[in-house]
Symmetry: C2
Subunit: 308 residues, 2 copies
Amino acid sequence: MRSDELIEGVLAGDRRAVARAISAVEDGTDELEALSAGVYANTGSADTIGLTGAPGVGKSTLATELVTLGRERDLRMAVLAVDPTSPYTGGALLGDRVRMQEHATDPGVFIRSMATRGHLGGMALAAPEAVRILDAAGYDRIVVETVGVGQAEVDVAAATDTAVVVLAPGMGDAVQMAKAGILEVADVFVVNKSDRDGAGEVVRELRQMLHLGVARDWDPPVLTTAATEPEGIDDLWEAIEAHRTHLEATGALLVRRRARLLREVESLAAARFRVAVAERLTNEPRLADDLEARRLDPYRAASILGKP
Amino acid sequence: MRSDELIEGVLAGDRRAVARAISAVEDGTDELEALSAGVYANTGSADTIGLTGAPGVGKSTLATELVTLGRERDLRMAVLAVDPTSPYTGGALLGDRVRMQEHATDPGVFIRSMATRGHLGGMALAAPEAVRILDAAGYDRIVVETVGVGQAEVDVAAATDTAVVVLAPGMGDAVQMAKAGILEVADVFVVNKSDRDGAGEVVRELRQMLHLGVARDWDPPVLTTAATEPEGIDDLWEAIEAHRTHLEATGALLVRRRARLLREVESLAAARFRVAVAERLTNEPRLADDLEARRLDPYRAASILGKP
């Protein structure tokens, strides 16, 4: 498939084209640039929702339930499951989501896991690009599910309109998540598996930590769900919609998206610059030799390399 | 203290100067550039040892024991405990290392925890800089201890001559560590708390995973220690020395250090370029406006910003 055909296919919402385009993002192929440019004008209408939390808290089940609720409202739904730490998709990430099968034949639903095999900027840049492809393909809500709670996952979550942080009793503690900086990016908290022992304590601990933070104009709600029942999912849907309404009403949506876009372009420019610098160090071994022989220190070398 | 006085102090091995210099690295202050340039010519004689593993496996106790062994051999020993995920030092990282107190009054030992408050390149760049300061100050062995097993910790571990990966029964599994890419960077494995249940299983699991990997010219040994006894620490010391001898004999030490240095300079140049790009986006709002209005796509914008 040629780039222009691929772009056309994505804009027409053709599933095969969308799948190929996301593979191109994963691989960081040469056609990515044309593809990205070709779909960009048609983006911006989807709402993006991040689902972050430790493995085992039930993110996939929550994502499936959100898809069900979205379909009831006649919205086209996409789920992008990303693993920032692995170059391989699949495995545990999508293996256990039997419930997602119920949406497999629905043309209004697109579910896909994603890794970064060759993308220059890692998942922090690949995920927003894949989201734009889904956006351009006409999906109204895009749920971005991450696999853990490390820095890479926080970066991916922070690149969505509404970041939902999921906890569950006995699955990693709030302190650990606070350390990863996840409390700062969360717009909605969910304590899932609320029928289990210790759920009330997780809610209390979380509320306590939130009280310690600075007051913001949006107070992240702490909800409880039992995704397998399902119970509390309607409240979660409402909370996400309320946050989105809040973002629009205050003008924060545009501010947030603009800031996100600029950070992304900065990262992309820096990643490309890095490649150029590496090439130059290869082509001009004298610079590398001087560094190695300690005639030239790293800062001075970086300054020299900063000049074209 | 002026920059030249600080450099002089570091080169003379003055502890106060060394402490201030490392604080300058943490803060990313302006004097860092002069400091880094000033000490660089005097680096390269220290051996660096990484200690990585999940919280609770006993890295601090192992570090303390290595310091004791080094002192018995009349070597000047430094320990740098880094937490890549936090801008704050101290806390759990150094709080529980009562045993380290035994070295507190020894002028041949320097122990310090470190965070990155303002350093441009994060811990991946700050840690090697702090190590060079300790190197220039005359420490013969520098143990770099990290706090967890995420990508940032792996990056820091990979920036040492000998990366020791520590595991313990019941403390995170080998699969998780494999995912973080830690098996690839490890030169020596230690299963600590070997007197506990399940230690044998951890060793077996680890050996199995290592057998799956590609054969390398250095076969990472799997040792067992009971650091609180202490037991097996002599073997650990010998394994580290053997690895170092192997690196020297094969010429891999120079190759590794050169590659590390070049990657560091690339990162530094890219981080500086990123700051320049961000400034330009602020000073030329038309570019940002075009991006936001989707008249200009991220790749095209990155290309424009790539030109000075």
